[in-house]
Symmetry: C2
Subunit: 216 residues, 2 copies
């Protein structure tokens, strides 16, 4: 092994980066559906096959970053302390991520991230892809909880409750940042929101939503 990283690896990262940036710019300019992979390849100065080598599908060009974090929730639960509850583990990890403004929970507003989010919101097939990431995380968590010895069916319910709260929070971040708020502003009251969301999971829905306000 050579020192550092190796020229090969560096070039590979650079090519991947170039393809990704090129694609995001073209998508933003003309919309996801109106850009073909062949065009992206040409603009990034590689062959079409190379694009598929780096990103398995056209959708991955936009959603790859978020797919790298599907394992985060399950990791929080797997690595929790002996006496910690599942809710505590997921909530604690999420609060820590807020502290460090983790981009994977939506707490950043750099232009490239905004591009990607806008794109996802405006493109049905990308929204589907995002919901796939959610259900994958949920499935992994359900498996882990079931493996810890509980009823697998209740484990699946628990996984839905936990990932549901987490995803709702992330979506709220995305929504507000796309509405124009600064990442700082969204992060400021994120902890408070987090407590409310997980409290609803920890203490139950009870008679939610209380007396109906708008029957229609």
């Amino acid at each position: 092994m050579t020192a550092g990283e190796g020229l090969r690896e560096r070039k590979k990262r650079e090519t991947g980066m170039r393809i990704w940036r090129t694609a995001l710019d073209l998508f933003t300019e003309r919309g996801f559906d109106h850009v073909s992979v062949a065009e992206i390849a040409a603009a990034a100065d590689v062959s079409k096959m190379t694009v598929f080598n780096y990103f398995g599908t056209k959708e991955d060009l936009v959603t790859a970053p978020m797919m790298n974090h599907v394992g985060d929730v399950v990791r929080a639960v797997r690595e929790r302390a002996a006496g910690e509850s599942a809710v505590d583990a997921v909530r604690r990890q999420f609060l820590e991520m807020i502290e460090v403004r983790d981009p994977s929970i939506g707490l950043n507003d750099d232009p490239r991230s905004l591009q990607a989010r806008q794109l996802i919101q405006n493109t049905p097939v990308l929204l589907q892809r995002a919901s796939l990431a959610f259900s994958q995380a949920q499935g992994e968590l359900a498996e882990l909880l079931a493996a810890e010895g509980g009823d697998p069916m209740l484990a699946a319910v628990a996984a839905a409750q936990l990932t549901g709260a987490r995803n709702a929070l992330i979506n709220e971040h995305h929504r507000r940042i796309l509405a124009g708020e600064s990442a700082q502003g969204v992060a400021d009251d994120a902890a408070e929101r987090t407590e409310r969301a997980f409290a609803q999971v920890e203490n139950g829905l009870g008679s939610y939503p209380g007396p109906k306000r708008a029957p229609q």
Copy 2:
């Protein structure tokens, strides 16, 4: 309008049925990915275009029946009595569906349904499609709850909790029936399972899953 149904409508239903059955048989025989739409069309004695007229996509050939029920949960909540909680509404509807052995919650074991389920379990792209149906139902429910006046973010969490419990129950039905149990057997203790699942949503996860049993 002629009496009854009209020859045109009947033929249309029959053609759709024939395409659907043909597709399911071919898929079961050789796997979803190894049957082309052109083959299905030929086997059903129609043109490829006709297949896409009846079923928008190849996936719909398998998942269309389940997509007709994405609105069920949101309907339960929308049409609930004035004082009823959301949990009560969803649980009550589900218990009623158990009573009548509703196929849409997995309580049937006729061969064609088994085929479809097996196919979905064995085909990643169809699993994705199923998870899409889930997230669609969840999104609609979140919207309704938010429209009733609560905090939209908490409404999204509540929707995840409710649909999570419901989906876990349906998956359990599917799992057991695919494992060879009779629909009757699965239905027999379905009500009890339903109570446990929704209790976990109504009363909260608390310190779930209690002391860790299998740390690894």
